[in-house]
């Protein structure tokens, strides 16, 4: 019974696997100080950016690729990666959507991104990043009225260098880890968001990332700053074409929430996962971290991870401000030969800080799914509270599900709870549903939906549609 449905998912193709034939401005593969200077020059960056990149590069040379994660992959040749690839555009760059290469827009249409004006219905402002460069940002004017800055990272460097200099690298320093350091040296673009004091961002902000060119690494950097009493909800989606070789995606996301501010960051990650034999696919090695700097601030991560050959990311929250709140909701699906080592870190520093972790892992085929989390309560974090729940569903004989939670408590008033279980869908659960006239598929769908519901509920409406669509196909067929 299960085999039949498993086969369905095995046969399901990656529908975003097309390549767009677009002329692009691309560097030769390889990494050196020269390349970094060229990236910086191409972006017309101020001196502090170049120096920062070079310091990161010097530090990166002293590091070696980390080995502790529960994933296996051949050594990456960092000299064989193209560090800069930009769609060729008219010299002055696009000022409005009309000036953007129509083929590019066609690509986004295929992806279902409401980039055009009709997106007004969806009410989503989109910043689309193609390979390494941000190509278009919608609704700029409307956001500007509210005082919100939402633009590509390179634009921010030109127009708001003081904000960039003040906050860049303060949450994820360039020395943080191998991939974050690499990103700091070579990142070519990304998104920048600044919500001024007391502003509630009038719409959901969204970024779409797409890797198009072959042999390219995508290194983008996102920086979101929510000033006091502000609120923002940010969405991120990703796709890539089908290629036989592996491509590297090493992004860095930094969130900063000041007093009473709230940031909600949602991700639907659907990079190309490779084929049934595990050939190709994206290596998704991402560093995401938020700092709740202010009192009563809140950062919430929601992620739906269905793509990538290897996912390696730990969206974390540093709870510095008293009464600050961190949340992490995750559904991670691994099928075929996908590997995911994902989880979160909650660092409690302020008093009365609270964190919630809900993680759902689903493994099928030969997938390996690992939850790795850290909850750390420092001595000064009086009355810190954490609740962690991680659950894993195993759908085949050949997959694996692992849980590695680290809990470190140095304060007696802290209250920490962790619970986890790993199992397959119960025969009795299925029987119960079947008895009430549901087909196997419907029953399985219902049970799995119930399994993920707590996380789906956290997604913003605009995104829930896509996420559900993505998971439904994958989930429905893979359980039995």
């Amino acid at each position: 019974m299960s085999n039949q449905y498993l086969k369905q998912i095995v046969d399901k193709n990656y529908q975003y696997g097309f390549v767009t034939a677009i002329e692009s401005d691309t560097f030769a593969p390889g990494l050196s100080e020269e390349v970094i200077r060229k990236i910086s020059q191409r972006k017309n960056e101020p001196e502090f950016m170049l120096q920062w990149r070079l310091r990161a590069y010097q530090h990166w040379l002293t590091l070696s690729s980390p080995r502790w994660a529960h994933v296996k992959f051949p050594e990456i040749d960092y000299q064989n990666i193209i560090y800069y690839s930009a769609p060729k555009v008219k010299k002055d760059g696009p000022k409005s959507l009309e000036e953007v290469d129509p083929q590019l827009l066609e690509t986004y249409k295929k992806l279902g991104i409401p980039l055009h004006e009709q997106s007004r219905l969806a009410g989503v402002a989109v910043d689309a990043v193609f390979d390494s460069v941000s190509v278009a940002t919608t609704f700029k004017t409307k956001l500007a009225e509210a005082g919100v800055i939402f633009c590509s990272f390179s634009e921010a460097v030109q127009e708001h260098p003081e904000l960039v200099e003040k906050y860049l690298g303060t949450v994820v320093p360039f020395r943080d880890n191998f991939f974050a350091t690499l990103n700091s040296a070579v990142f070519s673009d990304g998104s920048f968001v600044y919500i001024p004091k007391g502003v509630r961002c009038p719409m959901e902000l969204s970024t779409y990332f797409r890797i198009n060119a072959a042999n390219t690494g995508q290194f983008e950097r996102t920086l979101i700053i929510a000033d006091a009493d502000s609120h923002v909800s940010y969405l991120e989606g990703c796709t890539a074409p089908m290629r036989d070789e592996n491509q590297l995606h090493a992004a860095v996301v930094e969130l900063i929430a000041l007093d009473n501010a709230e940031i909600k960051y949602s991700t639907v990650q659907n990079w190309y996962p490779g084929d049934e034999q595990g050939r190709g696919g994206i290596y998704n090695f991402v560093t995401k971290r938020g700092a709740c700097r202010g009192k009563h601030s809140k950062i919430s991560w929601t992620q739906i991870e269905t793509g990538s050959a290897i996912t390696w990311k730990y969206p974390s929250v540093i709870l510095q401000g008293d009464h600050s709140v961190g949340e992490f909701y995750s559904v991670a699906l691994t099928n075929h030969h996908q590997q995911a080592d994902t989880g979160t870190k909650m660092i409690h520093i302020g008093k009365n800080t609270r964190s919630t972790i809900i993680s759902k892992g689903i493994s099928a085929g030969f997938g390996q799914n690992t939850y790795r989390g850290l909850v750390r309560v420092l001595p000064q974090a009086d009355h810190a509270r954490n609740y962690t729940q991680c659950e894993s569903l195993l759908l085949s004989n050949t997959c694996g599900a692992h849980t590695f939670p680290y809990i470190e408590a140095k304060n007696p008033t802290a209250q920490i709870e962790h619970e986890a279980y790993t199992s397959k869908i119960g025969v009795d659960q299925l029987f119960y549903c079947r008895q009430r006239g549901l087909s196997v598929e419907d029953a399985v769908c219902m049970i799995v939906n119930g399994f993920c519901k707590r996380v789906f509920n956290e997604l913003p409406m605009e995104f829930a549609v896509e996420a559900q669509k993505l998971l439904e196909v994958s989930l429905e067929g893979s359980v039995g």
Partner: protein
């Protein structure tokens, strides 16, 4: 690597003084090889995942030597109806041991005697090669094999009285003792035993113990360990359990002593329907007291069950580490595994690092784990205070209740009584 050199200085001396001509040549060769292996590996550091929270660097600075011959001491037996083997500072004490109740077909000997009388029987159990990266101190113990105990229960034999292995450490300072215990329970046999380490007027000594438990088909083994070393002592132990079909092992750990204690428990469930229940209680009430439990349960066959329940009370500036790992191999169908670790922090300086892990390669499993860290319930405390109970007394009552859950799992009343008396005020009822 200067660290290894300073370490090897006292090690070389200690090792040289244990080389006696009376040991069989195969053992001498094996010990020399294990010694070499340990020297090459060196002491584990905090950069290693298995030693992330436990720092043993100070061991290289202490000049441990072998204990000199010692006189007998006063001691109390926990019941008259026990079979007792006593070791003092790592040496066997014939006159204090009591083997009267031992059934005639059961072998219970100090290792040094067993090597002379049962050399061929014991040889395969001693020549085990541990992974030096994971268990460096087991390798070190291998280099010092000489004393310990050998217990062999033949098929279909039920030992009617508990067996008590008592390791006394008294009246000397800065010595190393490395007991090796081998317990073999053959098919359908049943034994109940306690391994006790007790410190008394001895300081800064180092116990490096290894206990190998073999539970053959349908054997039942109840193993209690009571670690009550002096609060300046270092106690590093590895308990390695090998289980065959339908065997049942209960392992119970009580840790109250030592400045630094490390309990490595590895359980291998080789065949179907093997069951292992692990229980642990630790009460740390000294400043700078450190306890580390590392448990690894290897589910290799189908229909096996394992459970862990560890509870700890931490006061003053003490630290506890818990790392429980369940590994289910592909094909280990119908695996049932449970892990839980609960910690009660009584002081602001106490620290707990806990990591219950699951690594599962089989779909047909039910694995659950949970961990909590917290302090006593303020409402419960208020309830007691409102009834006129002093704060200190109320705290004690609540802590006792926390501990009681574990104590209740000891089914043997004599054993329970004996352990309760040695666990400190929180365990007494």
């Amino acid at each position: 690597m200067s660290a290894v050199l300073t370490l090897s200085a006292w090690l070389e001396n200690a090792f040289a003084s244990t080389l006696t001509a009376s040991q069989p040549s195969w053992l001498q060769a094996f010990r020399a090889q294990q010694f070499e292996k340990f020297l090459q590996r060196g002491l584990p550091t905090k950069r290693e995942e298995w030693w992330k929270y436990t720092n043993v660097a100070y061991l290289e600075k202490t000049n441990f030597a072998l204990a000199a011959d010692s006189e007998t001491s006063e001691l109390e037996k926990y019941s008259d109806s026990t079979i007792l083997l006593v070791f003092k500072n790592g040496r066997f004490l014939q006159e204090m041991s009591d083997l009267q109740l031992l059934p005639p077909d059961v072998i219970l000997l100090p290792l040094s005697s067993a090597l002379q009388t049962h050399e061929e029987l014991i040889k395969p159990y001693l020549l085990q090669e541990p992974d030096e990266q994971r268990h460096p101190f087991t390798v070190l113990n291998g280099a010092f094999i000489g004393e310990g105990s050998f217990l062999y229960i033949p098929e279909n034999c039920v030992v009617p009285y508990p067996i008590h292995l008592l390791f006394l450490n008294a009246q000397q300072n800065e010595f190393i003792s490395a007991p090796r215990n081998i317990i073999v329970a053959k098919d359908n046999s049943h034994v109940k035993m306690i391994e006790e380490h007790r410190g008394n007027q001895a300081k800064n000594y180092f116990t490096n113990a290894v206990t190998e438990l073999y539970a053959q088909a349908n054997a039942r083994l109840d193993y209690y360990k009571l670690q009550n070393e002096h609060d300046t002592a270092t106690h590093i132990a590895h308990i390695n359990v090998q289980q065959q079909q339908d065997s049942h092992v209960n392992a119970f750990f009580v840790d109250v002593g030592s400045r630094l204690a490390r309990e490595d428990l590895t359980v291998h469930l080789h065949e179907r329907h093997a069951t292992c229940h692990m229980l642990g209680l630790y009460v740390l009430e000294q400043d700078e007291q450190h306890l580390d439990h590392h448990i690894y349960v290897d589910h290799k066959a189908s229909h096996c069950t394992s459970s862990m329940l560890y509870k700890g009370v931490l006061d003053k500036k003490s630290q506890a580490v818990f790392n429980g790992k369940v590994y289910a191999h592909s094909g280990a169908k119908q695996t049932k595994a449970q892990q839980s670790n609960h910690n009660l922090l009584l002081s602001a300086a106490a620290e707990v690092n806990t990591k219950p892990e699951l690594e599962i390669y089989e779909e047909d499993v039910k694995c659950v784990h949970g961990a909590t860290i917290g302090q006593l319930d303020a409402d419960a405390l208020f309830y007691l205070r409102a009834r006129g109970i002093e704060k200190e007394e109320a705290l004690k009552i609540l802590t006792q209740a926390f501990v009681e859950e574990i104590m209740d799992k000891i089914t043997d009343p004599f054993m329970k009584d004996y352990i309760q008396q040695r666990t400190g005020h929180y365990a007494r009822v």
